[in-house]
Amino acid sequence: MANMPYIAAIDAGIHQEMRRDPSVLYFGQNLATTENHEFVKEYGHNRVRVTPISETAEIGIAVGAAMAGFRPVVELYMAEFMLVAMDQVTNEAPRFRYMSGGQVKVPLVLKAGYGFACGWAGQHTGTLTNLFAGVPGLKVVIPSTAADAKGLMATSIRDDNPVVYLHHYLLTLEHGEVPDGEHLVPFGKAAIRRAGGDVTIVATGWTVGLALAAAETLAAEGIHAEVIDPRTIAPLDLETILSSVEKTGRVVLVDQATRHASVSQIIAADIVEHRFSSLKAPILQVTAANTTIPYSEPLEASVLPTAAGICAAVRKVCA
């Protein structure tokens, strides 16, 4: 184990796979511009390249390289930059295996940060998970810990499909224990971050920390929350969520995304469809308000989910 920040753990995951597999490529804007760049030094310019500001070409090149047998990782920095190339992300990369009747594989990783709610205002703060999670052929990964940041990155690279790997910018410097050596975290397997029998809280990314803080507060009040972190939202580990709901009968869903058509609403619908009879109270959701994120600090805080908001929702479903 090594204690390292989330951001370093992501790089550790990329290194792990680039060392073992010469077909892994890593490229993007403002990357590898000098010979001293750590990835250039180790893997050379054939596999590590800087690109111009051309997201459509960057992601499209990844699609072509993947079809031709390589495993590209595209550094996109911010999830919003993928919107410039939405056709490549949602209507090219995930379609080719299907349309070719299984003749090609498109193994690639689109690495991007999201949710940078610390004064980045309207265009760099989104939690865009729902835009990708509903596309057949894509996988969507949202690590909440340093260990998962490494292990999910490695699994993303090894996966034979296009993967949108969304790291949370507010977690960048969060430290955690990260396994040394080869570390892989399976897709579609939720982590139970805290066990409890009174209420199920499902949270993703940065909101996992909020949910755990809320659970601590609630424990002092005698309410024992189970906190589930799905880790990947496509595929989604519905089994773990439904098992917990069977046990607790009460559910609070936390999502940093704006509420309308969010991943929390997808989870709510599946719980209602499959475990309606287990529910003892309506499902409550703690999400961002349906708004563009404001710049001004108190306004920004006011539209995002909080630990206090999660506590209030839990008290309500447990009342």
Partner: protein, 342 residues
């Protein structure tokens, strides 16, 4: 004739491939009347571009790759795909190249180097560059041929990709088949170079790569230009933009219609939209397939008897493709969910 001129046998091969594409697509077109309802959605024919397609692919080697657009029937036939499997795909049958999951717009045959086709205009251009990066890393002097239309050159994907391809000296040849129309919009209505009377190959200058315009109805001219570009790419000197001027002899595609309306091919837009029958008739008189046959006969490369034999063989081949595709069963319903993920 330059050193690049194919020998007599190869010229007959080129003619035969042109005729195979033409005859295959005539059978696609005829299917709308012979077997209504068998072809669904949207099909796009390459009639008029056969010389460009075959001339471009005549130097294709094992290990090379080609990528194209939704107007994609011709390339795999030249590269060695079985027309039975191509027709079965267009009919949505289990024996299709893509098991009936892709259809007319998405023919793919990896075993023959036909790597992929995007139905979104311009979107496939960066895919070709990605495959060319793969070829560059492998270092086996393999090249990628990227086919697209004149309309795609107005997409951001075109500009972004040509910039990177030139910067990285990727082994890629960009073949723009300029058929003069983006559906019903003429080049001069949408392209600043065309409006200024410039060839579209001038766009290459913006990306510091060679740009060449060639008569795409002359297979030997296309062969000469593309094989020079391919040689340059194989040698590690980077990409070339080739503008191949062709005339689409059919409408953009079959009519777009809701279920219940029989699909068919309307007349060319030059007639239906612009009322310019003279332009269309001139293009028909320049039809590259009979013209090249005439040239081969005139040059003593092909006898009329040999030409007739080729015609009857190709007719039989494509009749067999239609018969096979009609008999091929639909895919199992389970296969609809089979290939979303590897």
């Amino acid at each position: 004739m330059s050193v690049n001129t194919p020998n007599a046998e190869r010229q007959i091969w080129i003619y035969t491939q042109m005729l195979r594409i033409r005859t295959f697509e005539e059978r696609v077109k005829r299917t709308f009347t012979d077997h209504p309802g068998v072809i669904r959605g949207h099909t796009h024919l390459a009639d008029g571009a056969e010389a460009s397609i075959v001339g471009s692919l005549s130097g294709f080697k094992k290990g090379d790759a080609a990528l194209a657009t939704y107007r994609c029937h011709g390339y795999p036939l030249v590269l060695g795909s079985d027309p039975k499997a191509a027709m079965a795909e267009i009919y949505g049958r289990v024996d299709g190249l893509c098991k009936g999951l892709g259809g007319s717009m998405h023919l793919t045959d990896v075993a023959h180097g036909f790597l992929g086709t995007s139905g979104i205009v311009g979107a496939g251009i960066p895919h070709a560059a990605g495959a060319a990066w793969a070829a560059q890393i492998r270092g086996k002097e393999e090249v990628v041929l990227c086919f697209f239309g004149d309309g795609a050159s107005k997409q951001g994907a075109f500009a972004e990709t040509l910039n990177i391809a030139s910067l990285w000296k990727l082994p890629c040849v960009f073949v723009m088949e300029n058929n003069g129309y983006n559906v019903v919009t003429t080049s001069a209505q949408e392209d600043a170079n065309a409006a200024a009377g410039e060839p579209l190959s001038i766009k290459a200058k913006a990306f510091a790569m060679p740009g060449v315009t060639v008569d795409g109805t002359d297979p030997l001219a296309v062969h000469a230009v593309v094989s020079e570009a391919v040689a340059r790419a194989r040698a590690g000197h980077g990409p070339t933009l080739v503008e191949s001027k062709v005339y689409r002899l059919s409408a953009h595609g079959n009519i777009i219609a809701p279920p219940g309306v029989p699909l068919h091919y309307p007349e060319h837009e030059a007639i239906t939209v612009f009322g310019n029958s003279a332009e269309y008739e001139a293009a028909l008189r320049g039809d590259p397939v009979p013209r090249f046959r005439g040239i081969l006969v005139q040059n003593g490369i092909l006898t009329p008897e040999h030409a007739a034999k080729i015609t009857s063989e190709v007719d039989a081949e494509m009749q067999a493709a239609v018969d096979f595709a009609l008999k091929s069963p639909f895919p199992t319903l389970e296969s609809a969910l089979q290939y979303n993920y590897a």
